[in-house]
């Protein structure tokens, strides 16, 4: 048997039902879209500046920066793909020979 909702929950639901639609409609407003757009650009620029600054600093000490890791990761990924393609070619060749 389900028990009745406590008083605090009824009050909470009443407030939430009033506030939620307003907040949800705010997300759909063009001003909100502009805000998100500006924040995204700011975050991107801030990250870029931070990466450039730390890169210079780390390179002075001959240490790898995140951009170096990114390049390395891309190279490893590309190597993995190449290995996969080669493995597939070998498998295909084996299948052809068996036939």
């Amino acid at each position: 048997m389900s028990s009745p909702k406590p008083l605090w929950r009824n009050v909470f639901d009443l407030v939430e039902k009033g506030v939620a639609p307003k907040l949800e409609s705010m997300v759909g407003m063009s001003e909100f879209a502009d805000l998100i757009s500006v924040l995204t650009k700011l975050r991107y620029e801030a990250n870029k500046r931070f990466e450039e600054t730390t890169q210079n600093l780390l390179h002075v000490w001959n240490l790898p920066a995140v951009t170096d890791l990114k390049k390395l990761s891309e190279q490893v990924s590309s190597l993995e793909r190449r290995i996969r393609e080669l493995s597939k070619s070998i498998e295909d060749m084996k299948e052809n020979q068996a036939e």
Binding site: A20, E24, V66, S77
Partner: protein, 360 residues
């Protein structure tokens, strides 16, 4: 008026005391983090893997149907939601109905997956998944069952492989008409945000950004969840589901950057899925070429994939046996929760059952 007020009052008092004890116990476990809930525990084996993709086959000793069901998960969250907890599991339910169940787990993307495209998933991975499900099960065709974006991948795979051994196709809460997806997707449509600027250092969309975008869709969602927790802290069954869902919603995964850029261009800006054809792998893929039986499951209270965005499937496919199933649930409520066990899963299983081959 009750005749014996005093015993009732004592009974209520004891019930409340018991609840208080349970509240204290569950609250303590929750706040100290002792309750590490296990998820995805239905016994299974990995029958095939490739890159980070794994194909699980769930163990069962009461299979009735030879046509296996291959569950295809979305790319933005972890696949264990389809097998969340005992009695809250789509996988468990389908096994109980006698199906041979497979699940595709895409893994957690890193730099290697950043350059993956939609074609990687539809032309390469899914083609291999179906081939291996057939090989392992010994069936001649399968039921492909895609959830959320997994449904889009399944649709595009079937549409681009006219000879694929697909007997039935189920899409569930899958976004098709991206013009109806709501304000956050609109941001990418109107060029307010350059999609490249959303990619993290590894070339993928960071998991936190995905989680935050979902929070924006329902700004009071987190606080409502907390209120539900406080109200039901005494209820062990509620806590079991709450902790499992909290774990799932807190474990988003990065979204492959290449696929994201392609989705923005093809699905969001050109809205190609809603027109019924997309250019993939250098050729035009038309949904009208899908001739197998199709079931499109849509949720009336879905705030992630609004119902209008999910409904066009039946009108776009070329199948003569295409039906839509509308359910009064939310996006996750389709697969988890009381409504899912009582309504969603039985109706979907009934549909698949009628279109599956019995084991001889």
């Amino acid at each position: 008026m009750k005749e014996f007020g005093l015993p009732d009052a004592i009974e209520d008092l004891f019930a409340e005391l018991n609840r208080s004890v349970a509240r204290a116990r569950n609250g303590f476990k929750y706040f100290v983090g002792a309750e590490k809930i296990e998820v995805g525990i239905t016994p299974k084996e990995t029958v095939w893997s490739y890159d980070k993709v794994q194909l699980f086959r769930y163990k069962s000793d009461k299979r009735l149907y030879s046509t296996p069901i291959v569950l295809v998960m979305s790319l933005i969250s972890r696949s264990y939601v389809l097998d969340l907890r005992p009695n809250k599991s789509l996988v468990e339910y389908l096994l109980g109905r006698g199906f041979d169940v497979f699940l595709v787990d895409w893994g957690v993307p890193d730099g290697f997956e950043a350059s993956n495209s939609l074609e990687t998933y539809t032309h390469d991975y899914l083609a291999k998944v179906v081939e291996n499900a057939i090989r392992v099960s010994g069936a001649k065709d399968v039921t492909l069952y895609g959830y959320c974006l997994g449904g889009d991948l399944a649709l595009l795979y079937v549409a681009s492989h006219s000879d694929a051994p697909i007997r039935n196709l189920v899409t569930m809460a899958s976004p098709i008409d991206f013009s109806a997806m709501g304000p956050l997707v609109d941001l990418l449509k109107v060029d307010k945000i350059e999609p490249q600027k959303l990619l993290g250092w590894d070339g993928n969309v960071p998991a936190d950004d995905i989680a935050n975008s979902f929070r924006l869709l329902k700004p009071t969602g987190d606080i409502v969840n907390r209120a539900n927790l406080v109200e039901n802290l005494w209820d062990d069954e509620f806590m079991d589901g709450y902790l499992a869902m909290t774990r799932w919603t807190g474990e988003h995964i990065p979204f492959p950057g290449g696929v994201f850029l392609q989705i923005v261009d093809l699905f969001i800006r050109k809205n190609c899925l809603a027109t019924g054809s997309c250019e993939l792998g250098g050729e035009v893929v038309s949904l009208i070429s899908i001739k197998c039986s199709v079931l499109n499951v849509v949720a009336e209270k879905d705030h992630i994939v609004p119902i209008d965005a999910a409904t066009p499937v039946v009108a776009l496919v070329g199948s003569k046996d295409a039906v839509e199933l509308r359910l009064p649930a939310g996006h996750a409520g389709l697969i988890v929760g009381r409504q899912a066990n009582r309504v969603t899963m039985p109706k979907i299983a009934d549909w698949i059952e009628g279109r599956s081959e019995l084991l001889s």
